[in-house]
């Protein structure tokens, strides 16, 4: 049922995506060769991101989110390897580019904000140098002095106080929130079209988290940057993203608008994920819900639906054990929900009926 994915905005292989689609991922596959066998970290993942769109990628730890991010960037290192699929960026395939050509794309068209800002910055280079390095790579004509001036501007833009004076400081002299701001400055130094933010606020306290997200939101809106926010924090997704991609066991099991994700979770995994978010109003009545079991071993996958052993819907049904579900599109054509569940239609209809009742 590949046609369904085309309907949902994901174009088929070899075909140029529409102009407003800045990033198009098609059937991307990434494997890691380990002693335990071949780990399939990303399994046939497809989705589109439009210009200045904010898309969240959610899922449990080890579901392939970070591997997907690095695969998109073409920065998977051995023993990992992208084994199939395409990545389209600004209307052309970048997944088959060589290292040299890809390095011209990195930072300029697509960049990365990393999880832990302490380890994501070189401890023995000043913040200013690290920002200037990104600028000089793609705007060499500004010169060293120009790059420095621009670095100060960027640092001021991400609201680091005394930006000019703090250029000479080293990462350990910044607070966690400021380091993350500096990271954002680096990622935005060349105004890329897509920024991948891999858990950008996980290491920060809640107040700083909110500030950094606000800042990120404002800046990407200003620069018309599309952002791919990788997180396991559904609260951040609800606040920040327009669309949500739910990953499970290396696959995208559901993608829909943020509204649909939270109110019409078609895939049982999405529903279970939402239920495990602590809600103060529910805590008194019932213990905190969690999803029973653990994600499957990506080196030894069964032929059936990978969520089947933990699923509360398909329990015992043969179809779930025997065949992996194809992406199924439900909902209105302009805001489709694509869900990899054998019972997507039934579940969607019941949700609508419940909503109307």
């Amino acid at each position: 049922m590949r046609a369904d994915s085309a309907l949902a905005g994901s174009t088929t292989d070899g075909q140029r995506p529409p102009d407003d689609v800045v990033l198009s991922v098609r059937n991307l596959k990434t494997q890691f060769r380990t002693k335990q066998g071949v780990v399939q970290a990303v399994r046939d993942v497809s989705f589109d991101v439009k210009r200045s769109e904010k898309v969240g990628i959610v899922g449990e730890s080890g579901c392939g989110k970070s591997a997907l991010a690095l695969s998109l960037l073409g920065l998977i290192e051995p023993p990992g390897c992208v084994t199939g699929g395409e990545v389209w960026l600004n209307g052309r395939v970048v997944s088959n580019l060589g290292e040299r050509a890809m390095s011209a794309v990195h930072g300029k068209e697509i960049s990365l904000i990393f999880q832990d800002s302490m380890t994501a910055l070189n401890p023995i280079k000043s913040i200013g140098d690290q920002i200037a390095e990104a600028i000089l790579r793609h705007q060499g004509n500004v010169g060293k002095r120009g790059a420095r001036k621009r670095a100060a501007e960027l640092l001021a833009e991400v609201e680091v106080p005394n930006a000019e004076r703090r250029l000479v400081d080293y990462p350990h002299e910044y607070s966690g929130g400021m380091r993350q701001r500096a990271m954002i400055a680096i990622a935005l130094a060349n105004e890329p079209d897509v920024v991948i933010a891999d858990e950008p606020t996980t290491a920060l306290d809640v107040t700083t988290q909110a500030q950094v997200l606000d800042l990120l939101d404002r800046i990407v809106t200003q620069h018309q940057t599309a952002i791919l926010l990788i997180t396991h924090n559904l609260g951040i997704v609800a606040e920040f993203c327009e669309r949500v991609v739910v990953m499970y066991a290396g696959r995208i099991v559901e993608r829909s608008t943020t509204m649909d994700t939270f109110h019409r979770a078609v895939h049982p995994y999405t529903e279970a994920l939402l239920k495990s978010v602590p809600r103060p109003d529910r805590l008194e009545r019932a213990p905190l819900a969690s999803i029973p079991g653990a994600p499957p071993d990506l080196a030894n996958l069964d032929q059936g639906c990978s969520f089947e052993p933990r699923c509360f819907v398909g329990r015992g049904r043969d179809v779930c054990r025997e065949r992996a579900p194809d992406p199924t599109t439900v909902g209105p054509p302009d805001q489709p929900i694509v869900s990899e569940c054998h019972f997507a239609h039934e579940r969607y209809e019941r949700l609508i009926a419940e909503g109307e009742a």
């Binding site: 051995p78 990195h106 300029k108 380890t119 070189n122 023995i124 990622a187």
Partner: protein
């Protein structure tokens, strides 16, 4: 910083006491040795008085230290010269060999460590590890003799144990005392090549252990740094793989190596004693070995103290350098 300086002084003090006690504990009477076998007891006693050996031990020690600090390192009876003159004359040869051994092993270590870790090819990595294992395990003097057997006796590629220059080649006019440098200064290209040719085998023999140690250290550090997320971030800025490796990974991997430099110097000093002897290198090492054989302990004593001082000074310099290279330990840096 002050405590480091204090520690350094303490280390030198300790070394001086060891050198001093070592000298006193030796069997035999230096005054008898110096006065000669035919001297009368009165003459020996007079020599003892002249040497200050009948003074209380603490006075002797104080005199020894003050003499050492003023450049009077004692008198070598076997050479009939002051120790400072002797060592001064031999030092350039040792320093030249040490520099070539260190620079050579350092460059080789960087090269091999990079080869072993860049792109992580198992075959290259395995061979490099085998070489470093060999280098750490093999006794330096045996390796030096093997080098001579293979590259001088069997294959006449390099000169034998004949010192710094071939017989008949005049040393260049002395400016620095380093023959290769002096020859270049004087424009004597033939002498330069000859001196360099003589340096190859001793440098390899002396540098092997240092090289093996450095390779092991650098390789481990590079592998450690290779996992750091900031390298991925640098790549995501568009910096090419090699540049990320050389500008981001390498400087970080060098930091622990810097700390080891003090140890490496000790390795070089200790190694030079035996290696120089094997190659008939007219340096301090050969002088020390000869002096031990002739029971000329004033030389040995001065050498021990000098080596200790060099070791301490290098470690101090390393501490200061560390602050320059690593902003996290920079003195007076703003606290987090």
């Amino acid at each position: 910083m002050l405590s480091k300086l204090g520690g350094a002084l303490l280390a030198i003090l300790g070394a001086s006491i060891i050198a001093f006690v070592f000298m006193r504990l030796l069997p035999g009477d230096p005054s008898r040795l110096i006065a000669g076998p035919l001297a009368t007891p009165e003459a020996i006693e007079a020599t003892r008085q002249a040497l200050g050996l009948s003074d209380p031990i603490i006075v002797q020690y104080a005199k020894y230290i003050s003499n050492f600090l003023t450049g009077d390192w004692g008198f070598s009876f076997s050479a009939g010269e002051s120790v400072s003159t002797l060592i001064g004359a031999r030092l350039p040869a040792t320093i030249e060999l040490g520099i070539y051994a260190f620079v050579g092993s350092f460059l080789a270590a960087v090269f091999f460590a990079l080869a072993a870790t860049y792109r992580q090819r198992p075959v290259v990595d395995g061979s490099v590890r085998a070489v470093s294992f060999f280098g750490l395990g093999v006794p330096p003097f045996w390796f030096a003799i093997m080098l001579l057997v293979v590259f001088f006796e069997r294959l006449p590629w390099f000169p034998g144990p004949e010192g710094r220059l071939s017989p008949g080649v005049e040393p260049p006019p002395s400016v620095t005392g380093l023959y290769t440098v002096d020859a270049l200064i004087a424009g004597e290209f033939g002498t330069f090549v000859n001196a360099l040719h003589h340096l190859v085998l001793p440098s390899i023999a002396l540098g092997l252990a240092v090289f093996a140690y450095l390779v092991r250290l650098l390789r481990a550090n590079l592998l450690e740094v290779a996992r750091e997320p900031f390298l991925v971030v640098a790549r995501s800025k568009g910096i090419r793989r090699w540049r990320v490796f050389s500008r981001h990974a390498l400087p970080n991997a060098f930091l622990p190596t810097l700390t080891a430099s003090g140890l490496l110097l000790a390795q070089l000093i200790a190694g030079s004693v035996l290696i120089e002897k094997v190659f008939n290198w007219p340096g301090v090492g050969t002088l020390v070995v000869d002096s031990i054989l002739r029971q000329d302990f004033a030389v040995v004593q001065a050498f021990i103290l000098l080596a200790a001082m060099a070791y301490v000074v290098i470690n101090l310099v390393v501490d200061v350098l560390y602050g320059v290279v690593d902003p996290r330990v920079r003195i007076g840096s703003k606290a987090e």
